[in-house]
Structure formats: structure tokens, C-alpha cells
Amino acid sequence: MVGIVLVSHSKHLAEAAQKLALQAAPKAQIIGVGGAGDDGEDFGTDATQIMAAIEQVYSDDGVVIIMDMGSALLSTETALALLGEEKSQNIKMSSAPFIEGAIAAAVQSGINADMQAIIAELKTSLSPKQHQLGDVPQSQSDPKASFQIPSDAIQKTFTITNAHGLHARPAALFVQEMAAFKSDIHIAHQRDTHDFVSSKSLTSIIRLNFRKGDRLIVCCWGEDQQDVLARIQKLVLEEFGEKDPQSLESEKEVRTYFEMDYADQEEETFVSVSPGISIAPPLCIVSNRPVFGDIHTENIEKELTLFEQKKAIVKESIDKDIKSIEDQEVREILIMHSVLLYDPDLHRQVKDNIEKNHYIFEYAMWETCNHIAEQYKDIDNSYLQARNEDFIDIGKRFLRNSERVKLADLNFRHIDEPKILFIDELSAETVSKIDTDIIIGIVLSEGGKESHAAIIAKTRGIPMILGFKNIASVQQVKCVVLNANVPELIFDPDKKELDKINRKLQVSKILKEEITTQITEPVQFKDGTQLSCLANVGALDEVDNILQQGAQGIGLFRTEFLFLNRSNPPSQEQQYEIYKKTLDKTNPHPVTIRILDIGGDKPISYLPPITEENPFLGLRGIRLDLKYKKLLKAQLKALLRAAFDKDNLRIMLPMIVDEEELHVFRNICDQVSQELADQNISHNRDIPIGVMIETPAAGIRSLQLSRHADFFSIGTNDLTQYTLAAERGNSNISYLYDHCHPAVLYTLYSICQNSNNIDISVCGEMSCDLESIPLLIGMGIRKLSMTPRSIATVKYLIKKLDIEECSQIFHQALQLSNAKDIRTLVNNSIDTVRSLKELYI
């Protein structure tokens, strides 16, 4: 083991440094020596003492000496002279800073590193502090790792939970623990995945400056690589020995009691954001993050000028893109970017960064954008969180065509065969420009479901998934199957597997064609029974294409868009125009318009504020409509007037629990009609009025309601939620929220039985759920209203169904005790459901 001697002018400083270093590396062979005079209490150094200290830790492996300054060097040299040539040739004096050097050397000594490794480590021991303080000497660039990651390397990401991050002590423990393994181990900080450092280098690890919540990427290869990851997992969990043992113990107890496995905490979960299947070789870009050279400048005035010039260039390039890009979505994003560009706050922060930190403008801009992006990431709202990417995008524009920073090449012009792109993150703008003949699939490690990139991939039809962390490991893969429908990734499939996938793709293609050709045909069963597929719409422009998409009318027209996001209520006239247009366009097919359906979860600024603990059980739907009669009357007047001379309007009431509400509504309707008549305004007073069945109460009272309502429309989303007392989207109970639950099915069945043969339709998500459709038909439903793009597939399925068989399956389903078994039953019974499921809707 290489010995370490610390030489200081102060005996106490030397001894304290020794103690500090031993705390970081208890196994180190290290000794501190210092002071002058008889008792060593005077400041100074004594070459004879130094000599004695060296002899104490001396072995043929050598000794490294770290001194504080000045005469300590002279005394040490004198000591070496006293020791003689033979020994002193095995001894190296290091220029490392005293304390940093002491700890770095001790850690290396503790893991039995050789002299050369220790000296190398000591050379960089000042760099963590320099980096943290932004005080990196001009000529000093980081020694970035230059190693090739082999194809069998494994990679995993961990989140640091230590309150003070990975500072010297925990980092030292990490280095020591990793030294026990045979594998090559390298780690990187998520902010710069180019910068992998050896697990043996304490100073490099400290330089990466892991803070609490930061993610640490481990890449390792070797015979015990799995053990390495398991050990790191444990270290992270125990916060590198810093977690209070008591809390660690109680945590362990809880874990054992509830049989929770924390080891899988960080398991990768893919999220599909754009469906489809692609097969191609991978194109791996481990990091799309910029790599800077020297980030400092002395000429601040010049830098500020350069910043302004670049801003103008960036503005010009965004404007050019706005003109040339056809996609409305992307254009709007770019317009937002061009506004952000002149945000005074952003400008001030960049200027500050240049003036105070002497940063080059590229780095100043990048730092600022990242800083703002981080703030967005902390917002507890998935939409706003995803906006952090916009700042990264703008920041990157400033880095392009600069010689002072390296950016990954995302042009793909040099590529001549289709590829699946594996990358850490991607801007919306890049996705919008990608040649879809070359990049036929995208796999990201970062990004949100609601990011612009995801939205655009979907509109451009590029299959895309998120959450795949191990990009580096894909570099050697020759063929990737990306199935974003499942989602799933298959690497280097064998021929059999590949044939199977190709066959599947072939079948899907044929199926898709079949589905498209029958799109506008009516649906009729063998016994002559007709079935209607209608559209759910929530905005005026959605009305335009519904007939081409195969809809036989509008089963649910949501009017909320007219009332939300404005400071005053819409006028009767405004509403009239929109209702009239909708009725005209859809004529002669029916249009079911639901009156305003909102509650405390979506407050309207021009109504008194509603503060409720549980808005979903509060003032919402018809309850709110009946409270604010003026608002309701204006909507009703607009509806009755729009329906003049037409008979395709039906009015639907949301959130009904009993017939009383229906009576009150009908009275208001009569009043409104009377008022219109008094003013000689032409209108239609004879409109069918129906109720939404979406509360258990309405289901139970369906017999009574059917005597007073003209039709039922079953809102299965809310009905499922209220029946099962399980909130939609709550991941803790997502297994429970399922409209195929027998309780929901039975409720639906009893509604059908009690309906006195009035018209019933289903307008929740259940109506386009392939596994539910045979059940709905089996219980007697003949009208389904759904999102227009699902109509073609649903129609295709229904045409393959047999009413008698559906009825049998449904009654079998009622005997089962949970939704999962019911779904399995449908899948096993009907081939078409299975084959269509492989497609996406």
C-alpha cells in the first residue's frame, strides 16, 4: 500500500488533516507531521520528523508527500536527502492543495491504488472546487473520459437523496466500495452524459457535484456488473452511510412488513406518446446536450454585443421557420419562442451571467434557459412542467453555428436508410423537421407525455416512446423493433421473431385498409337491427369532418368551450351562430347538445367563485345551471332559436340525480319559449330533452326518469367513477377504475331494462373500447357516441359481431367477479377484438 505523509507548519493542522482523511478512508496508510521546537508547538517544519514519518509509512510501493507550503517543501526535500537515494526514489512530492490532496490521496491509498494513479488523482484534486466556483483557469480543460463503452455494458440511473448531495465523505465511501469490484465502472451526472468519470477518481466524482435529487448514471461492464448495480442501489438507499441508522431500520421494517421491493424503485417504464410499429437499425445519440470548451471571457463589452447580434439571428431563423412550417401546432410553439426571446427578464438574467460571471454569451444563455427550465420542472402541473423544454429549445438555438460549443448533429442528411432514433431529449422543432422516411421511430430517455415533441410526433405519425434510459447500450444493436402500441422494444430479434412481427405488420396493413374502405357504410346486423355510431365533439371545427369519418350524427356536443377561458359570458347571439352552424352542417343527422357542464374544478371567472372540498360531489352540471338561471336561459334561447325549422336538435342535461331536476328544467324551457314567443322571435319549442345517466342515483331511478325524459345518454366515465368510488386517473387504484367492472355492467344492464324503450346511447370512453363493445351490444345498446377517429374501427368490429353471441357473452360476464376476467372472456370469445387490439384506435 502506498503511504501518504502530510507535512504542515502546524502540528495540529497536520494531525487534523490526517484525521479528516482517515474519516473518508479509514484503511488509508496516512500520517500527518508538522510543527517545530521541542514539543512541536511552534509553527514550522522539521526535516528529521518528516523523515521519521516517512519511515513509518514507507514500503516498496512508495510514499506520496503532500505539503502545505514554503519551508515545508524545503524540509521535505532535506528529509529526502537524509533518507538517501535508494528510498527517496520511491517517494513523490505532490503539488496538490493540502486538504483536498490529503483526502484524495487517502481514498486512493485506501483502495490500494498504485503510485501513478495517486499522482494522477492528485493532479486534478483542485478541480472540483474550481468548477464549483466557476474559477477554471483558461488553459485548463477537463480531461474528459476517452473510453469506448462496450456493447455488453449495462447502465442504470439512480437518484441521490443525501441532504447535502455527494460531498467528499459519501463520495469517498463510493470510491472505496467500487474498488472491490472487477468491473469497469464509470459514472456521469445527468446534466452532461458525455462526461463519464471513473469510479476510482474521487476528485472527478466531486467535480460532478451531485446535489440532492440529482440523477447519477452508472455505466459498468465486467463479470460482476450486476453486483455493482446492486451495491450502488444499496449505497443510494442508505444514503452512502449518511442515513440515520434508526430511520434506515424502521424503513426496512416497513418494507419487510408490506413486502415492498425498493430495488425495483427505479425500474424503467416506457410510455408511448405516438403509436405505431417500426423496424430499423438504431441511431444512437447518447446526449443531445451541448458540450462547452472554455466558458469564460474577458471582453464583456464584446460578449454583450455578440449576444445582441446572435439574438437578431435567432429571431430571424425562428421567423423563417414560422413561415415555412405548415403544421399549425409547431407554428404556434415557434411564435411563442419568438416572444420569449425578447422577454426582458430572460435578457436581464443572461446579461447578469455575462457581466458577473464573465461567461461567453452562449453559456450565459444556456445557463439561464436551464435555470428557468428547472423552475418549470418543479411546477406541480404536467402541462407547465412540459414547457421547460421550450426554454431548452430556445437556449439551443443560441448554440448553433458556434465554434465555442459542440452540439449533436441532428440533420440526418448523411443517413441513407431508415433508422430508429435513440436520444436523450428532442425539441419539438427538430421533430417537426425530421425526414420521416429516414427517422421512422423515436425513443427518448427524457421528456413528458405532454411535451410539444410528443404532440408533433403524433401528428406526423412517427412512433415514439419515452423513458428508455440505457441509450448507450443500444449502440451495438443492429436491429430494433419499436412497437409503440404496446409499448415495447425488441433488440436484435431472431429471424423467427422478425418474421412474426413482419407478418403482424402485414396483417395490420390489410386490416387498416379494410377499415378505411367501410368507413361511411351503415352498420346493420344479420337480423336487420341497425346500430348507430355517433361523434363526440367539443369544438366547432371538429364538426366539419365527422360525416366523412363515418359518424351518423353528433351524440354529444359539449358546450363548455363556449364558456371557458373568457372574462364574460358568451352572448345569446354568439351561441346561436355556433349552434345553428352545427345543426346545419350535420342535418339531417341528429345533434345532441349538452347544456353547460362544469363545476368547482374548472372555475369560470364571471361566476361567483366556488370553493368546495370535493368539487366532483359539489355544485356542478345541472345543479350549477339551475343556480345561475340567467346563464342557462341565454343558452336555451340560443338553442331553441337555432333549431327553428329543423328537427335534428336534442338537448341533454348533465349530472341528473332525479326527475325533480328534469321538471324544473322543463319549466324554465317553457318560460324561455314563452319569452321568445312574446318577442315574436322564431324558434322551435318542440325539442326532445334527455338526461345523462352518470350518477348511480340516475341509474337507480332510471325507471322513473324514463317516464319524463325523451332519451338517455349514459356517461360511462363518471358513472364508473361514482359507482366504484374510484377516481379516474388515480394510479393507486387504477386497477379498480374500469367500466368493465361487473357492478358497472350490472348498472348499465338495469338502465337498459328500465328504460321503457326510450332511446339510449352510450357516450363515454366505453363506447370505443373494443373489449366493451360486444358487452354493450349484448345488453341491448344500439347507439354509441365516441371520438370521431375511433368510429371506423368500431364500425368494423360491430359488423363482425353477432347479437346473439354478444348477449351470451354479456350474461356470462355478469357472473364474473372482476373487470380483468371479463376482459379476458371477451378477448377469448371474439377473434376480431384480438386482432384489432394489435392496431391502435
Partner: protein
């Protein structure tokens, strides 16, 4: 000829010189160093004398070695290893020599000075004790044919001139170098203590 006894007296006398000049040397060190040169060197030579009285050496080279080790051990600051090395190397050069003639005395100073230059990586003109020692050695070498007393008188003159030369330039080595231009105008304390050594040698040896 200089005998063991002469040399022992010389060291004891030198200790007295440093004792009475401790304050002065420290004052010289105050504006440019850490104000410890006089104190350190005085402490060192006191220990040397104490040690010589309890365990008297039986040869000149042993005497020089004792002086060296005691200085290294007790001085603390940079002058410890520097003066220590001076006497250490001088001792090695004089191994087995009973009494010193002009040539041997010259060797003593020459080897000692070279040892200090090597350890301190210092050259003439950098405002250190070398500015005193180096010209003194050169003067001795040039006047080896003269009697010891005259040779050392020449050395003393050269040393004095060397010492005074440290007043003008900017120090580039040693503690004073941290002051940069502020070290200008100060006589270097190391050069001064070295001069005291040569001056005493010139006065004592014959």
C-alpha cells in the same frame, strides 16, 4: 589552520552574534516575511550550543553534522533546512579532515553554498542568502594563495557587497517574493544572517 577547538568556539560565538542580532534580523523580516527569521535562527543556534556542550564531537565533520541536524530539527522556518543543508553538505565535504587550511575552508563554504542553492533552487540576484554566500565563495576561490585571514577578509567584502545588493532588486524567491515590488528597498534577512556568519569567520579564523 582552523582546528576542531577553533571551530567549536566559532559556533559558540556565532550563537552569541545571532542572539544579539535576533531583534534586528526579525525586524528585517517583518516588512517582507513573517517576522521570524531572527527568532528562528537564534533558537536553532541556542539548541546547537546546548547539544555541543552535552555531547562534544570529536571531529570537525561530526561537529558540522551536529550543527546541521540541530538546525533542521529546531529552526522550524525555511532557514532550518537551508542552514541545516549548508552545514550538512559542508560536513560531508570535510569528512576525515583534522584541521582546515585555506583550501579546506573554501571547500566548506563552497559545498555548503551549493547545497543551499540546490535545495532552494536559487541563483544569485534573487535576494536570498545566496547573494551573500556565492560572491564570498568566489572571492575565496580567487584568493586561495593568500593566508586564511586575508582570504576571508576578501570574502567578507564580497559578501557585504552581495548583501547590500539585495536592497535594490525585487525578490523572486522565498517569502519576500510574495511581496513582489514591495520587497524592493529591503535588505534580505537571510542575506544578512549569512553575512554575519562570514563576517565572524573572517574575524575568528586565521
Amino acid at each position: 589552520m582552523v582546528t576542531l577547538g577553533n571551530f567549536l568556539d566559532f559556533i559558540k560565538e556565532l550563537s552569541k552574534v545571532y542572539d544579539s542580532n535576533a531583534q534586528y534580523l526579525t525586524e528585517l523580516d517583518s516588512p517582507i516575511g513573517d517576522a521570524d527569521h531572527g527568532l528562528n535562527i537564534n533558537r536553532g543556534f541556542k539548541k546547537v550550543v546546548e547539544h555541543l556542550e552535552t555531547t562534544p564531537p570529536n571531529s570537525i565533520d561530526k561537529l558540522l553534522n551536529t550543527v546541521a541536524m540541530q538546525l533542521i530539527k529546531t529552526v522550524g522556518g525555511a532557514s532550518g533546512p537551508l542552514y541545516g543543508t549548508f552545514f550538512l553538505k559542508a560536513g560531508i565535504a570535510l569528512k576525515g579532515i583534522e584541521s582546515l587550511d585555506a583550501s579546506a575552508l573554501c571547500q566548506l563554504f563552497k559545498q555548503g553554498t551549493e547545497g543551499v542553492m540546490k535545495l532552494g533552487k536559487a541563483q544569485v540576484g534573487e535576494c536570498t542568502m545566496i547573494d551573500t554566500l556565492f560572491p564570498a565563495v568566489q572571492a575565496m576561490e580567487a584568493n586561495l594563495n593568500l593566508p586564511i585571514k586575508e582570504m576571508l577578509a576578501k570574502a567578507k567584502d564580497a559578501a557585504e557587497e552581495g548583501m547590500k545588493s539585495t536592497i535594490e532588486p525585487i525578490a523572486t524567491k522565498g517569502r519576500a517574493s510574495y511581496l513582489g515590488e514591495r520587497s524592493q528597498g529591503h535588505q534580505d534577512p537571510g542575506a544578512t544572517s549569512a553575512f554575519m556568519l562570514i563576517e565572524l569567520a573572517a574575524k575568528t579564523f586565521e
